[in-house]
């Protein structure tokens, strides 16, 4: 291990040497001397390399809390930059015996960077006792504020989550959403009940933060509360977050089946008006029980109910309703309804993880193509086909490159499919010809560039959306 250190340490020191720091470290270390005193002397050196040796010992050596206390005692006397490096080393050491000294530094230092380092160290070394002081720092400016948030996210202690949840309920109004975010970062599932009550708080920012948090921390016990919150939402954004949280709990929580059952029970017990409000969520959750409800509404002679039923089924999360949608397209006489239903088919047919295999997906695409009434619908479908990453999907879409109306979406699909090297290499000749055709056809310079790159066996990095 020393050799490992020697190598890493050597690279650590190399910069100093190259920078011309050639002063000899000739340090008379006496192996028989008190190691703590030796390290303290090293830490006081003006030679950064010798201080690095001392800091390494603080991190990895010097047995016991007494050594920690002795080292921590010199923090207050050091220059600010050295205070920062020493506090970081004490934090990495992980001994809570340094907490009083770090706390004293936080309260006494006039330097924001030093206080931020102390705050971060408290996050590593502290316990529930430090929540109050960190909460206070959260109200400061950066870098203290950012450090306090990070510290509260990582602070250990059984009661820390409880205290943060309490701050989210009754703390400084401007900071309450931040406390909720901290609960999410801490994965405080035990705070989910508090979050449910915060989802109907008087402060919209708190409500939104709570709903976002419940999507990650909520479970079966919170479905009822989330439904209540959804029914009380006052804005489209809030409604979307509530819906997202319910869908997340009903599809991704530890017991999604039970969560969905609870949602369905709540739905059945709801008033007619509430049901209308819950229908879009029902559609996004999907499943046989939800489909039975939706089918009943679609079959209802009441036009409004049918409209809600259709809205729900067109938001279905997978292709299990594909046949039902195809039947409904055949039955409807209303062009708007037809467009809505075909739009749903265009969305779900090639959807990854839509419960169909690739062959079935392509069959559904072909079936949907036959149902499309407008070129706009056909173009949308052609562009979506690239989600099916098979050579058959490629062969389906390729002829549309020659059709002036669909050339651009077809070119895009061909290029997207060519992006997948395994698929491209397995059918190299076909893809090269197709990419040549794309280059000659498309007016989109990005597609031309990508096609050229794929032909040369190169990859292409998708620009990240801001």
């Amino acid at each position: 291990m020393i050799r490992l250190f020697v190598r890493s340490f050597a690279s650590l020191c190399a910069a100093a040497v190259l920078a011309g720091g050639c002063a000899s470290p000739c340090f008379a270390v006496d192996p028989a001397a008190d190691p703590v005193a030796t390290v303290i002397t090293l830490l006081g050196s003006d030679d950064a390399d010798l201080r690095a040796i001392g800091l390494d010992r603080v991190r990895n050596g010097l047995e016991g809390p007494q050594a920690t206390t002795a080292i921590a005692a010199i923090v207050s006397k050091a220059a600010p930059t050295r205070q920062i490096e020493l506090v970081r080393a004490l934090a990495d050491r992980g001994d809570g015996a340094a907490v009083p000294a770090v706390l004293a530094l936080l309260l006494a230092s006039p330097e924001a960077e030093v206080r931020a380092a102390a705050i971060l160290a408290l996050g590593q070394l502290g316990s529930g006792t430090e929540v109050a002081v960190l909460t206070k720092s959260l109200a400061a400016q950066d870098p203290e504020r950012a450090a306090a948030r990070r510290a509260l996210e990582r602070l250990k202690g059984a009661d820390v989550g409880k205290q943060v949840a309490e701050a989210a309920r009754h703390g400084e109004p401007a900071l309450r959403p931040t406390f909720i975010d901290i609960l999410v970062a801490r994965r405080e599932r035990s705070a989910a009940a508090d979050l449910v009550s915060l989802a109907t708080d008087g402060d919209e920012r708190v409500r939104l933060a709570a709903l976002v948090a419940l999507a990650k921390l909520g479970g079966t016990d919170h479905v009822g509360g989330l439904v209540d919150a959804l029914l009380k939402t006052s804005s489209a954004g809030e409604r979307a977050e509530a819906e997202r949280a319910i869908v997340a709990v009903c599809t991704q929580s530890r017991d999604p089946g039970r969560a969905t059952e609870i949602f369905m029970e709540r739905f059945k017990a709801a008033s007619e008006g509430e049901r209308e409000a819950l229908l879009p969520t029902l559609g996004r959750i999907g499943g046989p029980a939800a489909l039975a409800v939706v089918d009943g509404l679609i079959a209802d002679p009441d036009a409004a109910k049918r409209r809600f039923g259709l809205k729900a089924i067109t938001r279905w999360p997978d292709a299990t309703v594909a046949k039902r949608l195809v039947v409904l397209v055949g039955e409807t006489q209303d062009p708007a309804e037809r467009a809505q239903l075909v739009g749903a088919l265009i969305r779900i047919a090639p959807l990854p993880d839509n419960k169909l295999d690739d062959r079935q997906k392509l069959e559904l695409v072909k079936q949907t193509m036959a149902l499309c009434a407008t070129d706009e619908e056909r173009a949308r479908l052609i562009e979506r086909v690239n989600a099916i990453r098979t050579v058959d999907a490629f062969r389906f879409v390729l002829p549309f490159v020659d059709n002036a109306t669909f050339a651009e979406p077809a070119c895009k699909s061909v290029v997207e499919l060519a992006h997948h090297q395994k698929l491209r290499d397995a059918h190299k000749d076909e893809f090269v010809k197709a990419l040549d055709k794309v280059i000659a056809t498309t007016k989109n310079p990005e597609l031309v560039e990508r096609a050229e790159r794929y032909k040369q066996g190169k990859t292409w990095e998708r620009k990240k959306s801001s």
Partner: protein
């Protein structure tokens, strides 16, 4: 599966002519026999003899490599002469070492020791590396003598002594340190740190500190040796620390 010697005649015939890229399926029976020989002394002897025979002139290089790999698992003193016979062969020396490094019997390391004086160039460096991997203290005098050889051999000797880590190895390194320069000086310093680290692991702090102190003193004041001096200083501090957290 019971061991069946007669069933191995054809696979060993196939092995003798085997080459890389050929179908390896016929060798599966030998793989199975090596496994079946576990705990069956007679079977082990038979398979070992057959594998050792592959190392004689005639069979392909690929066959010899295969045989060495298998002998590294089941080989004993009995196969050592056949394996050691390849140590001077540039094509097969590395595979012979692969087997001899792993055969537990002392004859294997003795064969490596004997070969050290008989081979030259890269093969000598390879044999030193194998003796180092066996941490063979008995080979220290021979390896120490090579600290005065050409640079590549001398650097390899320093590394080998650093791996052996015996007091004699540490002494030999200390003796060569003063006259060495360039890459050899760095290799010797690194090897001495290896020895000191081993002592520290055994809680022989005073002995470890003596090595660190000597290295630090020798490097003191030389800008080109600053990293060595710093590393030695760090080692000295570690010797003073009762918590061996490295």
């Amino acid at each position: 599966m019971a061991y069946d010697p007669a069933s191995l005649d054809a696979p060993f015939k196939a092995l003798a002519a085997f080459d890389w890229g050929h179908d390896a399926a016929p060798l599966a029976a030998i793989d199975a026999a090596v496994i079946a020989a576990h705990g069956d002394a007679a079977a082990r002897d038979d398979v070992e003899k057959r594998l050792a025979a592959i190392l004689a002139p005639g069979p392909t290089r690929a066959a010899k490599e295969y045989a060495c790999r298998k002998l590294s698992m089941i080989g004993t003193a009995a196969c050592v002469p056949a394996v050691a016979g390849l140590l001077g062969d540039a094509d097969n020396s590395h595979m012979a070492r692969f087997a001899l490094e792993r055969i537990a019997d002392p004859e294997a390391v003795a064969a490596l020791r004997a070969a050290l004086g008989a081979v030259s160039g890269p093969l000598k460096i390879g044999v030193m590396s194998s003796l180092a991997s066996r941490r063979d203290a008995a080979s220290v005098p021979a390896i120490a003598a090579l600290l005065k050889a050409d640079q590549a051999t001398a650097v390899a000797a320093a590394k080998a002594l650093g791996a052996i880590q015996s007091p004699e190895a540490a002494e030999a390194l200390a003796g060569a340190a003063g006259a060495a320069g360039g890459p050899l000086a760095a290799a010797i310093a690194d090897a001495r740190f290896e020895c000191a680290e081993a002592l520290l692991r055994q809680n022989r702090r005073a002995e470890a500190a003596a090595i660190y102190k000597a290295v630090a003193t020798a490097a003191a004041g030389k800008p080109e040796s600053r990293l060595i001096e710093l590393s030695a200083t760090r080692g000295l501090v570690a010797c003073a620390d009762t918590l061996a957290a490295f």
